[in-house]
């Protein structure tokens, strides 16, 4: 499937509502479970997605669109949310994520990006040259990967409870090495 800006935005705009449907009001054991040390709970994932809205995707797109001779991205802190959100409720984080995402998509739509602009380069601190098109595709894939992660982390919390069903439930067996 080739990159398409409208089809990308139609996935990005859905993520807050998907997370609300899956998580808002759910009991703490589901929300706070993880796959092990240094991996994300569903609560952590929402905080991590907020970090992306504030420090990653649109800020990096702005750097690209500024067309400076050195369009270097700021490094991204994958654990910024841990300190930032201590004491917050999941409900308030879900609301904040929805507001930030909606505002960022308004910015993105307002740019009316051309194919030539989607080809403009940025400089990723580790990956090197990336295009604006690749940045926006990565935003979509990043969302979907973390949605999959939330569902998988929750599934694994019931691993011992399904008894003999484990080999029939791929969510339990195909991600033996978790990543946050």
């Amino acid at each position: 499937m080739e990159f398409n800006l409208d089809l990308s935005i139609d996935v990005l705009r859905r993520t807050p509502a998907v997370l609300v449907a899956l998580l808002d009001g759910l009991a703490e054991p589901w929300i706070r479970g993880t796959e092990g040390p240094d991996t994300f709970s569903p609560f952590d994932v929402v905080g991590h997605l907020i970090d992306g809205e504030e420090t990653d995707w649109i800020p990096r797109a702005r750097i690209i669109l500024a067309r400076s001779p050195n369009p270097a991205f700021e490094p991204y802190d994958r654990f910024r949310h841990r300190g930032r959100n201590a004491g917050r409720t999941l409900g308030s984080l879900l609301g904040e994520f929805a507001r930030l995402r909606a505002a960022n998509l308004e910015v993105l739509r307002g740019w009316h990006l051309t194919e030539a602009e989607l080809d403009l380069p940025g400089a990723h601190p580790a990956l090197g040259r990336v295009s604006l098109r690749q940045l926006l595709a990565a935003w979509v894939v990043h969302d979907l990967g973390h949605l999959a992660q939330v569902a998988r982390v929750m599934a694994k919390l019931y691993r011992a409870e399904v008894g003999p069903w484990v080999p029939y439930l791929p969510g339990l067996t195909e991600y033996e090495v978790p990543r946050s």
Copy 2:
């Protein structure tokens, strides 16, 4: 996390709304993509979940609760949905799944299951003896595994579009061998 009936129902009741938020009205390329031959698209997953409502979870729970000397489950056809749903729209399948799930959860709630009833056995055609508790836990894990699958299948459709980002996006790299 130990099995808890109320906490299980609170996940099961959310799945239709999660799928609506993620998929309803989305363009065909997102809905019809797969990970390869004999794997499920997001459309297929919704059909597969409908099959579960009609032929798997509650029908098997009824067999267990009937306390017959041979509480054998009917084999489950994982590809029943392919013929059943040819020509259907995703929107109509999402509505059907929501209605079936709501009705099945009403049945489940109405049983007011005791711990002793949750321990009652059924006979799985391949796995052997399973308890009602394990069946219900597997229902939850099955839902979550397929939610993760939908997000992962969609993510992989953009694999070529993210360029150098592939190694940073676990959804693309950690499920190299897909299962339907």
